[in-house]
């Protein structure tokens, strides 16, 4: 059985086999809560997985932006808050 992972890449044949891609797609599928919770574990089309991945990453970015807004507001408030955190983190 010849593996398709040859390094000579003359004619544009894919270096990595399709199985590996399918494996990665299914791994990605497990990570995304939308697909994991509401679909059967098989036969989700790759385009759907990719779409949900993009949406999920965008959501996470938005959440992080909101959180950093909140954190910047909280940071500008009193100093004693910081000391309290340091104390709770150290103990």
């Amino acid at each position: 059985m010849s593996s398709r992972r040859s390094r000579s890449n003359q004619s544009g044949v894919s270096r990595i086999s399709e199985d590996q891609i399918a494996d990665l797609v299914s791994k990605l599928q497990q990570l995304i809560p939308e697909i994991r919770n509401s679909r059967p574990s098989d036969k989700v089309p790759a385009s759907k997985v990719l779409q949900e991945t993009c949406n999920y990453i965008r959501n996470l970015h938005r959440e992080i932006d909101d959180l950093s807004d909140r954190l910047s507001e909280l940071l500008e408030s009193s100093d004693s808050a910081q000391a309290a955190i340091i104390r709770t983190l150290l103990m």
Binding site: I57, D65, S68, D69, M91
Partner: protein, 233 residues
């Protein structure tokens, strides 16, 4: 000695040796990548230890942001917080993944270019030199069109979008993008958890320290006599 002088400037060298060196570099990188994946397991972003490491580093970075305070910053405070968080995230990844390396080098590139007032053409040359593939950008796009598995336009379009979302993956083939995306998503989730926890701590201690003096520290403080403050009396 002269080879060390020549090697950082692949754009200057004649084409054939540059392509040969690029192929060698790609092959060497691939083998290195395989080896490093066997020796260094990928980071477990779900573990508490990682989150604690990230939180402590984030705290230090935020403290610096506060103290390096409102210097001629063209950016607003939340933007700076976000960038500090991203930088610390990339540092926690220890540069093992492509997106973390790209995040770290991008900051340096932007700072460097802003400082020296470099024009756009020079910018593209710098990016090409650092990436080492000034000519293969067109080739890789054509390669994507020719591959059988990616010939579906929907998948291809979405891969393109996804690769733009994950930093450092704009011209990578599909399996690389997928792998980087899995790692990136796990890291982002951890970042959200850590920042939420930090925000909760800040808001809770902010409100409680307003009411009672020092009442925010819990009863555990008494069980550790050798804390950071020395006994006063």
């Amino acid at each position: 000695m002269s080879s060390s002088l020549l090697s950082p400037n692949p754009a200057v060298n004649p084409d054939r040796s540059a392509t040969r060196r690029r192929k060698n570099k790609i092959q060497r990188e691939e083998s290195l990548g395989n080896i490093s994946q066997q020796q260094n397991p990928p980071i477990q972003w779900k573990s508490d230890a990682q989150q604690q490491i990230y939180s402590s580093k984030l705290l230090q970075a935020l403290r610096q942001v506060r103290e390096g305070n409102f210097s001629p910053a063209q950016k607003s405070a939340p933007r700076r917080v976000r960038e500090a968080a991203d930088k610390v995230l990339a540092a926690t990844a220890k540069g093992r993944s492509r997106w973390s390396r790209a995040m770290l080098t991008n900051r340096l590139k932007i700072k460097f270019m802003k400082k020296h007032n470099i024009t756009k053409r020079q910018q593209s040359v710098i990016t090409a030199v650092t990436r080492g593939n000034s000519r293969s950008t067109k080739k890789s796009k054509v390669r994507i069109f020719r591959l059988k598995t990616k010939s579906l336009p929907a998948v291809q379009r979405k891969t393109r979008v996804l690769s733009r979302l994950v930093p450092g993956c704009r011209q990578q083939p599909l399996p690389v993008v997928l792998e980087e995306a899995t790692d990136y998503i796990a890291a982002l989730e951890m970042q959200v958890r850590a920042m939420t926890a930090l925000a909760e701590l800040l808001s809770v201690s902010g409100t409680s320290s307003g009411f009672g003096s020092g009442s925010s520290s819990s009863g555990d403080g008494h069980s550790h006599p050798s804390s950071s403050h020395p006994p006063t009396s």
